[in-house]
């Protein structure tokens, strides 16, 4: 069983469980983000330019249809899973006991807030913005 590598966190031992699910989810969402996040960054910086991306532009171009809104919402979910589970690993390495529990609870609450804010943004970009 060569389950320990020098590169990343070792695969949890002991069969299926929460930690194993997290271990796989980090890697699966990482693969998805390799495509989604890098293409997102390329589109917003190389194909387009941040100077053009006003709120009006987002409404008229970027989110003018279900496709991009759906894709960006998918990316939001992947990035929340990946980044917050990653932060869970990082913070768990440096904290223990009650402080660890309290900080991780705050982290999960923040993840929920970020999910709600992103979802509200992608779904409710106001139609009334365009005159």
């Amino acid at each position: 069983m060569a389950s320990i590598t020098r590169a990343g966190r070792a695969r949890p031992q002991g069969g299926a469980g929460f930690e194993m699910a997290v271990w796989y989810l980090i890697r699966l969402s990482g693969l998805a983000l390799f495509v989604l996040a890098l293409s997102h960054f390329s589109i917003t910086h190389f194909v387009s330019d941040p100077a053009e991306q006003t709120s009006q532009w987002i409404f008229d171009e970027r989110w003018n249809g279900l496709f991009w809104r759906t894709l960006d919402w998918l990316m939001l979910q992947m990035v929340i899973f990946h980044s917050f589970l990653g932060m869970r690993t990082v913070l768990g390495d440096y904290l223990k006991g009650g402080a660890r529990t309290a900080v991780l609870m705050a982290l999960y609450l923040l993840a929920f807030v970020v999910f709600v804010m992103g979802t509200v943004a992608v779904m409710s970009m106001p139609v009334g913005l365009v005159p």
């Binding site: 695969r11 330019d49 709120s55 939001l76």
Partner: protein, 125 residues
Amino acid sequence: MLLRYRGGAGMIAWGFHRLSGVAIWLFILLHVLDIWLASANPGLYDNLLEIYASLPGRIGEALVGAALLYHALNGLRVIALDFWPRLTRYHKQLWYACWVVFFLVGIPGAYLIVAPALGLPTLRG
């Protein structure tokens, strides 16, 4: 963490992965906030966009892009080593390959991001 422990390439690859990951997480918090503003308060978002599009803002974006690119490339390396453990023998070479791609993609990329603020030409003219 990175300067005192002489752990070699594997340790530094891990340290950079962790630092870039935390940096990207912080940017995600800012980025979801700004996109939320685009819907909730478009005027304020447009003001924030002017900061993003300024020279210091663009240098910051290039740094976010660098963190993202390193984390993505080294992340693929981690996944490859996890699922094909025999590759571990070549973990250093794979890390050096990450850096080759990082600079080949990153240097032109950083130029394209910063160029508009300096009046230099880009792919869009």
